[in-house]
Subunit: 503 residues, 2 copies
């Protein structure tokens, strides 16, 4: 395994990655709140962590990737009363909250499929882990770091900060926070304004509610991630990820709760992707520039001129390192589209070139040692870039350097004899591994099924002839029967060759 370096938000530096249990990686990523349709802001973290997941598996780790669905009790500790986003919307739409949850979860999954994001290994829901959250809250209460007021439970940040390092992740100091937090009437039941809710008493009419030792209520936002990560990954686990906006208060609160409940700093490596902007401005309802994913795919957003395919958006996101900000604009997306088309074409060309046996290089000339060296260098660059904090931007930059070389080979400006078959395969495998397998980009080489069917049948006939040549009649018969069952008839010619007819 190459040495993977990860920028750890916790230590503010790149560190060599060493998993807690050799060969295994536990990764928890904060998932979407399904009280509305996913927007562009969701695309970046999930594509980022999809690449990280793919890369860790490529390195040979058995990865347990947990990404939650926040479907209840999400309310932020802001200067306003606790607000369960889902219930509020359900009431206005006269829907059962779980109908909304289902609808937006389905839409989210569809979008992830279109982005070619692999499903996480476990996708737990907040409402599905109320008991686990209650158990953890009881534990924190027992240890004296929380208190009950009017059926709600609050985490005692002041007490925690007195004997633990509060602000370890975000770098914020409790004193600054105290000074900058406004005192509002609705929050008077808290001992300190910096305390946060572990459990909220449900007011009458609040639809989403569960029985608890403190009366009917619903969990605070932060507790779900602590409870679910501990359940499925143990404590501590390897990687905790999410958007940078989650560092405070969400992840800082997770750490505090988790430390009290489990006695451990919950995760070793904290990975945070930077935010996106739209035409230079932060995306948000107040700016009236939120773009939902379906608006993006369909071109119906008022902010962008036209539709961009999920692959173009994925490409655009991966062209920038995950820790950099990324600005969505028509110009930038159009450029990404061109870039993606270029690499996609180079990919197809490499497939073609490396499969055309007749023109096999190295046979009729001598490969150019400098060129050969360069090619090996490119491939090494890709490997190094991924190992250097998942630098997909540099991987793509390297593939862009390879593209003119591929075009030169295709167009004849670079003689085919100047490159060995081995190097050609190296280039092809490099595109395959980095562009397709790890960055998850799916080249669209146009699907003409019937042409493909012919081509595949050609291959199957060849396989069957080989099976017969090595007297493997079981395989030979298996091929015949499988094809017949698909309505394709194989005929064995006198010359020992197999042909087929469609029934």
């Amino acid at each position: 395994m190459p040495s993977l370096k990860i920028y750890n938000t916790l230590t503010r530096q790149k560190e060599l990655f060493t998993p807690i249990h050799p060969g295994f990686v536990g990764m928890y990523v904060c998932g979407p709140t399904v009280s509305g349709e996913s927007h562009l802001g969701h695309a970046k973290p999930y594509i980022t962590f999809d690449v990280i997941y793919r890369y860790l598996m490529h390195l040979g780790y058995r990865v347990r990737y947990v990404r939650n669905i926040t479907d209840a009790g999400h309310f932020e500790e802001e200067s306003r009363p606790a607000l369960d986003k889902i219930s509020v919307k359900a009431a206005t739409e006269r829907l059962e909250p779980m109908e909304l949850v289902q609808k937006y979860t389905n839409l989210f999954h569809q979008a992830m499929d279109r982005f070619n994001c692999l499903p996480p290994t476990i996708e737990p829901t907040a409402t599905g882990h109320i008991i686990e959250q209650i158990n953890m809250i009881e534990d924190i209460l027992k240890k004296g770091y929380a208190y009950v007021v009017n059926g709600s439970v609050y985490f005692d940040v002041d007490k925690y900060a007195s004997d633990h390092h509060y602000g370890i992740l975000s770098g914020r100091s409790l004193e600054d926070l105290k000074e900058n937090t406004r005192h509002l009437e609705s929050q008077q039941e808290k001992r300190h304004q910096v305390d946060f809710a572990l459990w909220k008493n449900a007011p009458p009419g609040h639809i989403m509610r569960w029985k608890s030792p403190w009366g009917e209520g619903f969990p605070g936002w932060h507790i779900e991630c602590s409870a679910m990560s501990a359940k499925y990954l143990g404590s501590p686990f390897d990687i905790h990820g999410g958007g940078m906006d989650l560092i405070f208060p969400h992840h800082e609160s997770e750490i505090a709760q988790g430390e009290i409940a489990t006695g451990h700093l919950m995760a070793r490596y904290w990975i945070h992707n930077n935010m996106i902007t739209v035409n230079g401005r932060k995306m948000g309802k107040s700016y009236n520039n939120t773009i939902t994913l379906s608006e993006m795919f369909q071109g119906t957003s008022p902010v962008l001129d036209r539709a961009y395919s999920p692959m173009v958006i994925r490409f655009f996101i991966l062209q920038t390192h995950y820790r950099s900000t990324l600005d969505f604009s028509n110009e930038a997306l159009a450029a990404a589209e061109k870039g993606w088309n270029r690499l996609s074409a180079a990919y197809a060309t490499l497939q073609r070139l490396s499969n055309s046996r007749d023109e096999g290089a190295g046979a009729s000339g001598s490969p150019d040692p400098e060129l050969e060296q360069k090619i090996r260098g490119y491939c090494q660059d890709c490997a190094d870039s991924m190992a250097d904090d998942f630098n997909t931007a540099r991987v793509l930059a390297t593939l862009f350097e390879i593209a003119p070389l591929v075009n030169g080979l295709e167009g004849g400006q670079i003689p085919r004899s100047g490159i060995s078959q081995e190097s050609l395969h190296l280039l092809r495998d490099c595109f395959q591994l980095y562009l397709v397998d790890l960055l998850g980009m799916l080249p669209d080489c146009g699907s003409q099924d019937s042409g493909k069917l012919d081509g595949v049948l050609e291959l199957v006939a060849e396989m069957r002839n080989q099976a017969r040549a090595r007297k493997d009649y079981a395989s030979s018969d298996r091929i015949r029967d499988a094809l017949q069952s698909l309505g394709i008839l194989l005929q064995d010619g006198k010359d020992g060759k197999t042909t087929w007819t469609e029934l």
Copy 2:
């Protein structure tokens, strides 16, 4: 709204359907246990209730369709110790049970998509409703119809039967049941052999477990449906559905629990689909004839000769009334395929004919009144059939009667002037509504090649896996390269299996 008649298992007769709240329908259908891949036995209920869901919406009802996912604590009250299927399998595969749950839930959803089944409005999980189940059990205990033994809670069927109608759905008598239930040591903690578990104490090493007032354990199988239906549909609600095999003990137990907990007979209309057989025999592990859905789609089942597309399977299921048994065999499926091709062709022809304005009938001749009358009759027949206990078999029979007429119009045997434009549109709309919108059949107006390609690729992947198994890397690489040159991408999975993606 036309008068819909539904056969109610509860009353053993067809009844006029009247919803509890005018304009709204609440429907609960027992969903899959995701401890393994879905098999053919799952196709029938979910396709049946998908049509019912579509039809109720077509009638103008706002339908809340709840279908659960059983992901925990499923154990049957049979003559063997309580067995949590999921935990057992997880332990052997050395997986976290929720990883398995996620994997099989994803596969189930994919299969439902391929069958063109609409997602239910809410798809609650058993593990997501442990609190609701505990609350209901506490309520039943308080009312005196359950008892606690060694950390487990059992429903007192004997007591229930003394003042309620036990067997109301299944028609079974308690006396017969008592006589026919064997006494086993493992069940000795029950007062009566007919009692069933509401909550089971978790033995050491049992992975899936939750804290409860009775110690750590997991819920009985029956309680989840009572708790989740009450939560999302209230009590009583309109329709409870599932396979006929669920009538006893599952639905009978649900009724008993629900009656005590809510004071109501939980649902008004009980709809049960009949079972499927394979080559005349009940499908089951003991018969070695279980066919998983992916085996069905790919033609890899040892029981059937070849692959059948999801649409052919759907068509086959809907060609028989849901309350009849259905035997899967190569002959029957091949016949269904032909039938489906015929109706699909008629559908395409009707689209073509009704869109070609030049040949508009009625303009150049006088429509044949008898034919016009006949066409109106066909459409009425379809409407009547659906309203008569969802008789999809009769709807399809009527569409088969229309097909020769469509072919006659296409071939010129029936003059285009013999039918008015209005009638032609009526026929087109009739096919659209009944075949596509309500029966959910998606006509494939193009390539059968794509299905064949899938099948051949499956074979190629198999050949490649065999090549790799015998360390014949030349063949394995050759296959990969040849496919890549066709724009088909092979991916080597973690499990050593090869899958492919079209570029």
